[in-house]
Symmetry: C3
Amino acid sequence: MAKTNPGRFFEDYQVGQVLHHAVPRTVKMGERALYHALYPARHALYSSDQFAQACGLPFSPLDDMVAFHVVFGKTVPDVSLNAVANLGYAEGRWLAPVWPGDTLRSESEVIGLKQNSNGKTGVVYVRTRGMNQHDEVVMEYCRWVMVRKSNLDAPAPETVVPDLAKVVPADQLVLPQGLDFTGYDFTLAGEPHRLGDYEIGEKIDHVDGVTIEEAEHMLATRLWQNTAKVHFDATFRPDGQRLIYGGHVISMARALSFNGLANAQMVVGLNGGAHANPCFAGDTVKAWSEVLDKAETIAPGVGAIRLRLVATKGGEPFALKGDDGKYLPEVLLDLDYWALMPV
Amino acid sequence: MAKTNPGRFFEDYQVGQVLHHAVPRTVKMGERALYHALYPARHALYSSDQFAQACGLPFSPLDDMVAFHVVFGKTVPDVSLNAVANLGYAEGRWLAPVWPGDTLRSESEVIGLKQNSNGKTGVVYVRTRGMNQHDEVVMEYCRWVMVRKSNLDAPAPETVVPDLAKVVPADQLVLPQGLDFTGYDFTLAGEPHRLGDYEIGEKIDHVDGVTIEEAEHMLATRLWQNTAKVHFDATFRPDGQRLIYGGHVISMARALSFNGLANAQMVVGLNGGAHANPCFAGDTVKAWSEVLDKAETIAPGVGAIRLRLVATKGGEPFALKGDDGKYLPEVLLDLDYWALMPV
Amino acid sequence: MAKTNPGRFFEDYQVGQVLHHAVPRTVKMGERALYHALYPARHALYSSDQFAQACGLPFSPLDDMVAFHVVFGKTVPDVSLNAVANLGYAEGRWLAPVWPGDTLRSESEVIGLKQNSNGKTGVVYVRTRGMNQHDEVVMEYCRWVMVRKSNLDAPAPETVVPDLAKVVPADQLVLPQGLDFTGYDFTLAGEPHRLGDYEIGEKIDHVDGVTIEEAEHMLATRLWQNTAKVHFDATFRPDGQRLIYGGHVISMARALSFNGLANAQMVVGLNGGAHANPCFAGDTVKAWSEVLDKAETIAPGVGAIRLRLVATKGGEPFALKGDDGKYLPEVLLDLDYWALMPV
């Protein structure tokens, strides 16, 4: 009886199937400190208990991306061990803060399947939910990945492509209970700009850059218990390079965006995202943002800003796609998300 | 008056001598998180407070190897600063879990001495005990090292070679109070295999590999306050390489063994071990295991599995020794331990 | 409206100006563990809650250098983003321990300005204070930096050079409440030497060395939320090297000084300091100390020792300056500080 996990292949998925992912994880103060060591994260609400309390929260939650990474990491052995590519995200929402001491687990429902015409791969759509120890859903998102078939003779399943929203509507964003930005301290937060100071279409070059090291992306990826070989084993790819977990680039870019978006405090919605090109150690990651939309919320003093966050490894700021409509080779990430900002 | 520690030489040890090692260490949540960042550790009992509670423990203890590393690290200035080689381990037992907030210290008794025929070195046998702040012994083990003489004219001591057990008998393993695997959740733990599913003699290739970085092994080794120069100072060895702490390889291999041994939850006995060849940054560590024995315990639903854990840096799985009986050059570690597993 | 922080230039400072630095930071157990992973820190009072309690403290505080780094890191965006050089420190005092759970913020008062004769740069003197969540000052120090002018036509300000003490007088050192070394355990602390065993003028070679890695200095520098580009972005300097944060060298040297100064437990005064030469990844940092002075304190069993701490990257121990009076090229740091030691 083989004891190791070979991962699932395309023919192993059925629409409606629910995958209960293994190894729940209690996250505490150590994970919080490591997040600050791994990324230049400075958003005040995640840095200071007192700042968070002045915003109506009991204390400082773990960074929203910690929730994403932990929830995502658990899905890897069941969803993406034999994945060829991570194709997209949609309908992502953060539904409750993750507090130090919470234990997260996750499960995914298969919501779509489409075999590719080559007969060798197919696209698997899942909706993943992360739950805390009280069985509250703390975040959810849809993801679709291209997965290899193991048995090429397995019949193609009925094609089911889910109808996913291009954007999470602002009125479906969920705000942390008690959140109140009416007493927001812009000096402590680091920048004076409120929602009204940003224009739709405005672009911001976040200026700073971080050169990526092997040790750092591996520490980060392991911390989220994401154990995909390709991130750790230099002998796995023919080129001897370790592919950096796409979430490492997301967190790096989000942290770099502090410089110009210090008041885009909480990430509450993930509208979409593409890992445009692979990132390797030695690349210097920079970031720029574009304001895509703005909206009101029902929480006092709290608005929502929809942002495109682009991570690059060189090139000019604000360059995204070539004349052929394809991402430029230096673009690493194109993420579309909602954040909360004082109005 | 010289202020720095020159370490002890072979002639400085006497049988019966007790060495009280310095610098007690309080371990908390930060050490727990760092362990998960440094190693691909996923055993559920150490990852989730709720999983640990469902197994009868108050919450998730620190990884058993944290106890070993901290206890071991304290002995370095007194035992192995002038050691030429770490020769072996025996009679190791984990006697109580280490909880976040515990403070560990350690002491070693010299239990054997044997000068080598060259007159320049000798073997020192110690039994080391790690205690918590309540003076409970949390773990103990024997270790023997080859140590240089400083004064070659010092007379050879009477040879005393302790009679050490080849294997800790299963009935002498100590189980954490309250441990109960009758409600064990195999889905959350990540694999369905129980003790009955493993055969004595069965071998498991753990498949995954991790390429080692200088920054990571130094972070780990410092965290355990093991300050042997050879791990940190690239100018110390003539080849300019930093020798990786053998315990880093132990933790890496044990974490990799999750894939195939996810339910070998707690390490409770250390029967023996050899650091077969040195490990350096750039090596890709893989691991395989062999089931050596199985036993019952008195705790409900809890069995014991005796495992050989082999770490390699290349080569074929399951290759261990050459025709000459010596370890193959790619073998890093050959460890013999007892773990607890649901029956 | 530009959203990113361009930093202040020389003409943007006025004497008497108070800069309220952004992003308060709650430090907890995770920061403590990371400090022990990043530096070979073994001073017992910061390693063990029980040892700290035996010295009259409620439990183990965060390392004094954590306070310094966090307080310093917050000043970077307002003081040194356009700095050409960090010129000196004076009148530094640690005024209260930082406990896990404390939230630190900092503010700086401009206490001096002097335009350089080239008209392109000037020296800015600030007194920085770090406060905890109870508005207690936990540490203060003066620093002066050379800052570029942006508008070369801006008139030179009136020259004000503050009169800073060469040494903090011993009777102005502030000791943690309750500190008592009368029951000090030298065995647990790691060395037998008390204040009376050190002679003024005595020099100690700390022997051990640590080769610096990019990943480690970046983890450390980010942990203190110091985001100066030059430490992170390999494309920033023409030589493609990342300049290592001077504070990383301070902490490394201080931790190395354990070997010979294990009982110089708490750092309470910073008399002066020079970052003599830049440090880059690959350098092997070693350290030596010189006893500059000794003093009594009013706390039972507690004396003060004034130390020169020199960090080097090669060369002979105790070499500091050449015949020209300039620091030798291998000297990284020359720090003058007060520590507390059992009498």
